[in-house]
Symmetry: C2
Subunit: 309 residues, 2 copies
């Protein structure tokens, strides 16, 4: 792997943060190299890694993030590990946030085993309870962290503007790969984002967004409390856009999601997000980002009814 510690970080503007995952995989991995991921993890990133014939190694998560003992075991046993992929805040799909202690532990393991960390942080600004936790990138004195950010969740997903911050050597490789993919990111979209950041009060804007999603999250939890009757459990919501739920009785999760879809409630079965898609899970993901209060109540009520059957 070599060291990327030349002390200088640079930035690349990408066509959404999705492109960071692609450029990282393309510039850092050969076929059959290994990428370690949280399991479950964001299917969009997993599929991008898979598209380069990368071997994915999923490490299961505790309530405060990836299991550190299992992570070290993976680093010890897997060959040609290129990077550890983590979503530190309100992870998609689990909603789990990595504790400060674990962020430091992951960074120390990355240095010890000389592998990179790809820190994908689309939801960090959408916290409505508790204190912000420093990014792993903020500890990085050795050039082991690629940080991926995006304006998709706080300004507009349709504009497709994201970015990566990483050591110069890595950004240089990413730039070459990006030139072959789309030459550069839409200039008008970059100007709109630039103008927004310069002329608008971004703190006020984020506070408004947090207020909006917090209100929806509160409704979601209230209705889940009311209609789930313990037949479905769910993680407490502290921020982000997703809730990870588990069915407590013996209904097959795919059948459950199909039954929901027949009643026009769209939820995503948990196996979709597993590194090994055939792995058994009784979990599913819901989001409160778009639906209204009334739609949230109606949807949650329907899920509760299906779980009773």
């Amino acid at each position: 792997m070599g060291s990327f510690n030349d002390g200088i970080d640079e930035l690349i503007i990408t066509s959404g943060a999705q492109q960071v995952m692609d450029l990282a995989a393309k510039s850092l991995c050969n076929e059959r190299d290994t990428v370690i991921c949280e399991s479950p993890s964001f299917i969009g990133s997993l599929n991008t890694f898979r598209s380069y014939n990368i071997n994915l190694c999923g490490v299961s998560m505790d309530n405060d993030g990836i299991n550190i003992d299992l992570l070290e075991k993976a680093l010890n046993t897997k060959k040609n590990v290129r990077f550890i992929y983590v979503i530190p805040n309100f992870q998609n799909p689990s909603g789990i946030t990595l504790s400060l202690k674990k962020r430091k532990a992951i960074y120390e393991l990355a240095v010890k085993y000389n592998v990179l960390i790809l820190e994908d942080n689309p939801y960090g600004d959408l916290r409505f309870y508790g204190e912000n936790i420093p990014n792993i990138k903020s500890f990085d004195k050795t050039g082991h962290v690629i940080y991926a950010g995006t304006f998709s969740k706080i300004i507009s997903p349709g504009l497709r503007v994201g970015f990566a911050i990483a050591p110069k050597d890595i950004i240089t490789k990413m730039v070459v790969c990006k030139q072959g993919q789309d030459v550069h990111t839409n200039v008008l979209a970059q100007l709109i984002i630039d103008n927004f950041l310069e002329k608008c009060d971004i703190k006020l804007h984020l506070s408004n967004l947090q207020k909006l999603y917090k209100e929806k999250a509160i409704y979601m939890e209230q209705f889940m409390e009311r209609y789930f009757n313990g037949n479905i459990t769910y993680n407490k919501i502290e921020g982000g856009l997703f809730v990870w739920c588990k069915i407590q009785i013996g209904i097959d999760i795919i059948d459950f999601c199909k039954a929901a879809l027949e009643k026009k409630v769209c939820i995503i079965p948990g196996n979709t997000f597993m590194v090994d898609e055939s792995e058994h899970t009784n979990a599913f993901r819901v989001t409160y980002s778009t639906p209204s209060k009334e739609q949230i109540e109606k949807g949650v009520k329907i899920l509760g009814e299906i779980a009773k059957i």
Copy 2:
């Protein structure tokens, strides 16, 4: 390879036509498969194909396009040829346009050897002399042609909106690859292009563009006639944005381009566009798209002076 002839073509909107080259390579080729290209050809596409560890096979060109005998020889001798990459109109960098006879011959060879054609047509609308020649795609009754188009050269390159038209099976693969790269193309840019096409007189717009570039091309040829004195020869300009020039005396092409750059004239040495970059060439590419009449005269005069030394 199998047949792609299900009789249905579909469309994908891409982030510039560059992304079509990437998606075609990614969805159709394994490492060490072969892509046959015109030589010289557009460096952006060649580098994208190289990034997937594809073996490039360059076939030299006559004044009416790729040499058909050499193309058939390549199809006979190269293993795992996935597609033939051609720029049919005012090719970058040579400015050469494929004759109708050769377009038909390439299509017949593609059917005979059951390989695809990737027809990349960014400059076709910028013709200012002669008659338009039908695209290879227009003969395609068997699903052997992927057509790549773009609005970069006729509306705005900064918006990054291009497209591919190809058999459904291929577009389906491209869509999956694109989801992993940038999810979708900037929505605002798509709306701007859509609005432009709907509300503006595109024929009038193209006619204005053709007039503008024709005027510049005439200046370019006049000044080349005046200042080159036979020390540099050039292809007649019929459209597009580029002129392919050849030095007639024994100056090394890299030294020539460096000497021009020192006098602030930026031209591209021909070897950059060769499939085998170490291949000897005495050619360079110039463009008249951006410079003013005065700048064209100044630049051409400087080139003429360097070629005399």
